[in-house]
């Protein structure tokens, strides 16, 4: 179907193709330059940076920053904590949000628009201002300083937003599919599980990729609900590497690159889903 639909479009000339790739190559160079910068920085020695400045071309070359960053400041442990938290937050938030979005978008629930707006409104307040109340609530519930607290807080805070986004996508699903489901006497659970979730795969994958980068890069919620360094995420370890007065930028760059690998892999894995995934229109 994909092939057919594209064959229907007008063929592009060689000039168009060349322009397309030239423009995008330039754009990509602009977008990749910080990563090149970070890579270069991670391969320099501290003394080279201290003498020649951060913006200078390297006059030193060493991989030493990687093992050193990994050993110091709990980078390894932080990565592991971040992976655990990210996995549970992303999975549970998307599960709950897709359930709520399904209910709101497909059923005549009284005040459903108000409920949706209310859930979205929860995300309009800057998260920073909720930190101290959240810490107190976690303490009151006895889950302060546990990964559970980090996970449930972030689920709560993400829900409204993801529900809103998924609601938008679910409203766009063709009605005929649901009518067919009704005729097949599918219950709500089957409809949700067998029809809505598969059809929402592109948007779920896109959201999962985005959510992974956000949750993985979270610092504020973790430091608000945690006190023990053994439970800190990678971002807190990065912040410690940065130093209060003096920063070992080469170590920080190396650690940042290590921390970038998991969300980058997730994006890579998921982009297939929202790019070449199921074409809704092709189902008709």
């Amino acid at each position: 179907m994909t092939a057919l639909s594209h064959a229907g479009r007008r063929r592009r000339g060689l000039g168009g193709t060349l322009a397309f790739h030239t423009i995008l190559t330039v754009v990509c160079l602009l977008w990749i330059s910080p990563i090149a910068f970070v890579v270069l920085l991670s391969l320099r020695t501290f003394d080279d940076i201290a003498l020649n400045g951060l913006g200078a071309f390297p006059t030193s070359f060493t991989f030493a920053a990687f093992p050193e960053a990994f050993r110091s400041g709990g980078v390894g442990r932080g990565l592991w904590n971040s992976l655990i938290v990210t996995f549970f937050v992303v999975t549970l938030t998307l599960a709950l949000a897709s359930m709520a979005a399904f209910a709101l978008s497909r059923y005549r629930i009284p005040f459903r628009r108000t409920i949706l707006m209310l859930m979205l409104a929860g995300n309009l307040l800057p998260p920073q201002i909720l930190l101290i109340p959240v810490a107190r609530i976690a303490q009151g519930m006895g889950i302060y300083d546990t990964l559970t607290a980090v996970i449930v807080v972030q689920i709560g805070f993400g829900l409204g937003f993801y529900t809103f986004v998924l609601y938008g996508f679910m409203r766009g699903l063709p009605k005929e599919v649901f009518e067919a489901a009704l005729l097949d006497r599918c219950g709500p659970v089957q409809t949700y599980w067998r029809i809505v979730l598969p059809l929402c795969r592109p948007s779920l994958a896109a959201l999962a990729a985005l959510a992974t980068t956000w949750v993985f890069n979270d610092l504020l919620w973790a430091l608000t609900t945690l006190q023990s360094e053994a439970k800190f995420p990678i971002t807190a370890a990065l912040l410690n590497l940065q130093g209060a007065y003096a920063s070992s930028w080469n170590l920080l760059a190396a650690a940042s690159l290590m921390a970038a690998v998991p969300p980058a892999l997730v994006f890579f894995a998921f982009q297939k889903q929202f790019v070449s995934g199921l074409l809704v229109g092709a189902n008709k």
Binding site: G8, W31, R106, R113, P126, S256
Partner: protein
């Protein structure tokens, strides 16, 4: 308030499918209530309860410990007289349009360009998304180097004969906000692109083909055929953009911290400074309430109208 159009009246004009649709939507099975109420309860507990606390704190003076002292509307009165708040508010209005507008246009353009089955598009998409996975600390450092005296921006200006425009971009009160805005858009574009890519997957390619057969050019096809199908996604992106514009924090904090002398301050950075550098939690909460009110103003009016327009179309 009428959330559900009464099926009995059947007021909606000429849609033959209505009876069937209302049969799907009318009766709400218990399990669907469960689907809705569990997430709602979690959010109410972890977001609304603390949020109500913050609303209440905005009427007090509180330093994080001890008893908060009620001061009525004093914090709000102080906001009106606070020159830094006025700067931050104005900057934020500029920010909503500059940051929001540019990132949506850029993200949409990239999504459309990269939604085609061409060579290397997967590589391009990944590259544009990659900045989001790099830690904010080194991102901020990178941009400070880019804008530094003798950095790439100034060197490029020199190279193309615009040497007189060279300056310390982040230290100049006139250019700091704009310089940060470019960095923020650069980071946001990948995110908007991902959402539009997901939205474009939901578009029906046969409609575009039909239009092409009818002789519509690419520009017409995009605006008349593709855009209408993206209505739902557009609503989502509008909301995201407004929320993010009002909450932008990290990139400003790592690049200028609102400086020099508060000239690149946004509401969120000023709030953070009040809350965590000065521990004026009452005053900071009042700023947060203003951010909340602005977001409501921008979003609820737009989104609610959108939702109402769709309402009859369940």
């Amino acid at each position: 308030m009428s959330t559900s159009a009464p099926p009995a009246t059947a007021a909606a004009p000429g849609e033959g499918r209505r009876p069937r649709r209302s049969r799907l939507g009318r009766r709400v099975p218990p399990v669907v209530w469960f689907f809705l109420l569990v997430p709602l309860a979690v959010e109410l507990f972890w977001v609304f309860w603390p949020a109500l606390n913050s609303f209440w704190l905005s009427t007090t003076t509180w330093g994080g410990v001890g008893v908060a002292e009620p001061v009525g509307t004093a914090n709000y009165e102080r906001l009106l007289a606070d020159p830094i708040f006025r700067t931050a508010l104005w900057n934020n209005v500029l920010w909503v349009f500059g940051f929001g507008g540019l990132s949506v246009v850029g993200g949409l353009a990239l999504a459309v360009a990269l939604n085609q089955p061409r060579r290397f598009v997967g590589v391009y998409r990944t590259v544009i998304f990659l900045p989001m996975v790099i830690s904010m600390a080194v991102t901020g450092l990178f941009w400070r180097i880019v804008y530094a005296p003798g950095g790439p921006v100034n060197n490029t200006l020199e190279l193309v004969g615009l040497g007189h425009l060279q300056q310390q971009w982040l230290a100049n009160p006139d250019t700091a906000l704009g310089a940060v805005l470019v960095a923020a858009v650069w980071r946001q574009v990948g995110y908007i692109m991902v959402l539009y890519l997901a939205g474009l997957k939901g578009c029906d390619p046969s409609l575009e083909e039909a239009a092409a057969v009818d002789g519509a050019n690419a520009w017409q096809r995009f605006w008349r055929v593709v855009m209408p199908q993206l209505a739902g996604v557009n609503t989502v992106i509008f909301a995201i953009t407004v929320i993010d514009s009002l909450r932008t924090f990290d990139i400003v904090w790592v690049m200028t911290r609102g400086g020099p002398f508060n000239q690149s301050q946004l509401l969120s950075t000023y709030m953070f400074e009040q809350a965590f550098s000065y521990v004026n939690l009452g005053y900071a909460s009042a700023i947060a309430v203003v951010i909340f009110a602005l977001a409501i103003l921008f979003i609820i009016t737009y989104v609610a109208r959108q939702a109402r327009a769709e309402e009859d179309d369940l």
